[in-house]
């Protein structure tokens, strides 16, 4: 059977690839060291498949039809989407998919009462382009993107996100094959694209959230991570952290819900609380 060997949550802010030289040197060093540490861990783990969970930045789904979660079942992916190329400053890349496991995620989630949408083609922006560049710079894993909606209300509840994560873990663990799989949630931490806090980072909020991931306490997560609370970390941005909650749900399913905080840098030049946490599951 396939095995889920790690899950993680990590920021995907475009400034890291697009304009990090405008941040003070100590911030640049700390952010890049954080991403490098994740890259080092992925090099060591050598996963075969990476399941990504992150928000769609209103790039793939028009306002008329936005799914809670959409699983990419395609054989191949390419990025970044053209309009985002110069913004992201990431060289064009291709990465393979894993159709069979992606289809299993859709099919078996449905049996568990979760209605995932699915798509053959998806455009990639910073949600994948930034983390893939640092964690899988050779693009030599098979990638299953899951685009979720935390930013056009009504958004999935924390309870649902935890359950989605649990189901991903169950489905991976039951998948016939010997794939070693990593679940990568991206987004966050505090940021406010399109709001008054565009140039503000909410450090207290970020430290609260990362400590919550460290605690592994899914009951506390359900009590404390409300929609209203997420708005305080940046109206249009902090909701992305629901992807980390999916990653936590998967870890909880394997009995290891306590995360390790890997790095955290509040960065106004990046317009985001930059950070990441990690759940070792093997």
């Amino acid at each position: 059977m396939a095995r889920l060997i790690a899950s993680l949550g990590i920021a995907h802010a475009p400034g890291v690839t697009g304009w990090i030289d405008k941040a003070p040197q100590h911030e640049q060093d700390a952010v890049l060291a954080g991403y490098a540490e994740f890259g080092r861990r992925m090099d060591e783990l050598e996963p075969d498949v990476v399941i990504g969970v992150a928000n769609d930045h209103l790039l793939n789904f028009p306002m008329s039809n936005i799914p809670d979660f959409c699983v990419g079942i395609g054989d191949d992916w390419a990025g970044p989407a053209p309009w985002f190329r110069d913004w992201l400053n990431v060289p064009d890349y291709k990465i393979g998919g894993h159709r069979a496991l992606a289809r299993a995620l859709v099919r078996e989630s449905a049996r568990a009462g979760i209605n995932h949408a699915f798509a053959e083609q998806l455009l990639f922006d910073d949600n994948w382009s930034v983390p893939l560049k640092f964690l899988f710079p050779r693009y030599d894993v098979k990638f299953i993107p899951i685009h979720m909606n935390p930013i056009v209300p009504p958004v999935p509840s924390v309870q649902k996100c935890l359950e989605v994560g649990r189901q991903i873990a169950r489905i991976v663990q039951a998948f016939p094959g010997d794939e070693r799989v990593v679940l990568m949630g991206t987004g966050g931490l505090s940021h406010d694209p399109g709001g008054p806090d565009y140039f503000t980072v909410h450090e207290e909020f970020d430290r609260w959230f990362m400590q919550l991931m460290e605690s592994g306490d899914t009951d506390r997560v359900q009590r404390e991570v409300t929609f209203e609370k997420l708005l305080t970390g940046g109206d249009g941005g902090a909701g992305e952290l629901l992807s980390w909650i999916v990653a936590m749900g998967a870890a909880a399913e394997l009995g290891k819900p306590q995360a390790e905080s890997v790095f955290y840098v509040p960065s106004v030049p990046m317009r985001c609380g930059m950070g990441g946490c990690y759940w070792p599951l093997s």
Partner: protein
């Protein structure tokens, strides 16, 4: 104003959605803003807001917050979008918020 105030059915939301995905639509927008707005069925209020790049007005009309900085990039370009870039400064000005005051 925030994500809860989004009017998903606002024509301007569909326009921004498409302009970032369709290079021909984007080129047409750059050539002729009025024709583009007409094509997407914008209201008179929306059109006036676009003419003035009045992001706060677009927000009040129900544009999704995510699209607001993207509108500034539609006009000013997206490359090297640091806090002192034209796009970021335009965003700050049109949203009536203090910019970051330069990188340190």
């Amino acid at each position: 104003m925030g994500i809860r105030d989004t009017d998903r059915t606002l024509p301007s939301n569909q326009m921004v959605f498409e302009l970032r995905r369709d290079p021909q639509a984007f080129a047409a927008f750059q050539r002729d803003l009025e024709a583009s707005m007409e094509h997407y069925g914008l209201s008179a209020q929306e059109k006036q807001a676009w003419r003035e790049t009045d992001l706060a007005a677009l927000a009040r009309l129900g544009m999704h917050p995510y699209f607001l900085p993207q509108v500034s990039r539609l006009f000013k370009g997206g490359g090297y979008n640091h806090n002192d870039s034209e796009a970021a400064l335009l965003y700050a000005k049109k949203m009536n918020i203090a910019s970051a005051g330069g990188s340190r």
